[in-house]
């Protein structure tokens, strides 16, 4: 079982990278959705 910690580290690093990427996409999506809603509200109020 030589080097199993390196193998483990590699898999953890890879999934961390994919997870962080997914997280940034999700966070950015939420922010855009907020901005879109805010904009739609101000348009509705303006009318």
């Amino acid at each position: 079982m030589k080097n199993i910690d390196s193998l483990f580290a590699a898999y953890m690093a890879a999934w961390a990278i994919f997870f962080v990427f997914y997280l940034t996409v999700a966070l950015r999506t939420a922010a855009i959705r907020r901005d879109l809603d805010r904009l739609k509200n101000s348009v509705a109020r303006g009318k």
Partner: protein
């Protein structure tokens, strides 16, 4: 909503199956022992990254030809996803190299070429932040993306040739160097699982870009009014 959750579950199951195959189905390597199994993660990520960049290339060509915003959205999404996979290659490379050869970085052909590839698409994304007008931004990044992608085989080819001139002691499981047929099957299955993950991430990123474009249009219209 339900469809999304099901898709994500399917992808995770595939990835789990690929990991299982990497650990238990693939035979043991005589020289490197357990650690060589990083190959299934490392090489599959490299191939997936290249696939994403190829999708970016096609999207770029379609944008220049058609000028429809959705090709721009696909282009930037594919570039970011490709960059994520390429980052995995660059991170798992040193993790593999250190226990086996005692060094963190090896200028092996794949790692070196991957580093240049990574830089090319980082620059692609940076270019997008530096051009403000949306149509011009889409056009210029598409054109740079086209130049960058046709450069990719030249980069890989020249660095491989350079390596032949300066042989490196490190052999990081180049799939030409005599792999067992079962290893090949596991590698291709890992690649398939990664492609599923890539598709999932691509769809999410594309939706984000479409929304961002909607927001931009709406803000623009409000300013006009």
């Amino acid at each position: 909503m339900m469809k999304n959750v099901l898709a994500a579950v399917a992808v995770f199951l595939l990835l789990g199956a690929a990991a299982y195959a990497s650990f238990f189905i693939a035979p043991t390597d005589a020289k490197q022992g357990l650690i060589y199994r990083i190959l299934f993660l490392h090489v599959a990520s490299a191939w997936t990254g290249l696939t994403a960049f190829f999708i970016c290339f096609i999207a770029n060509l379609l944008y220049v030809w058609r000028r429809q915003p959705r090709w721009d959205w696909l282009g930037v999404s594919a570039a970011e996803v490709g960059l994520a996979f390429t980052t995995v290659v660059l991170v798992t490379g040193p993790i593999w190299a250190h226990p086996v050869w005692g060094i963190w970085w090896t200028w092996s052909p794949r790692l070196t070429s991957t580093f240049v590839l990574w830089l090319l698409y980082v620059v692609y994304l940076m270019l997008r932040t530096l051009v403000e007008e949306p149509d011009r931004r889409a056009l210029f990044s598409a054109l740079f993306g086209i130049f960058a992608f046709i450069d990719v085989p030249l980069v890989f080819g020249s660095i491989r040739w350079w390596r032949d001139q300066h042989p490196q002691p490190v052999v990081m499981g180049e799939p030409g160097s005599g792999m067992d047929p079962i290893m090949y099957k596991v590698l291709f299955f890992s690649w398939f699982a990664m492609l599923a993950l890539m598709t999932l991430l691509l769809r999410q990123r594309y939706k984000l870009e479409a929304m961002r474009s909607d927001l931009e249009t709406m803000q623009h219209e409000l300013e006009e009014a």
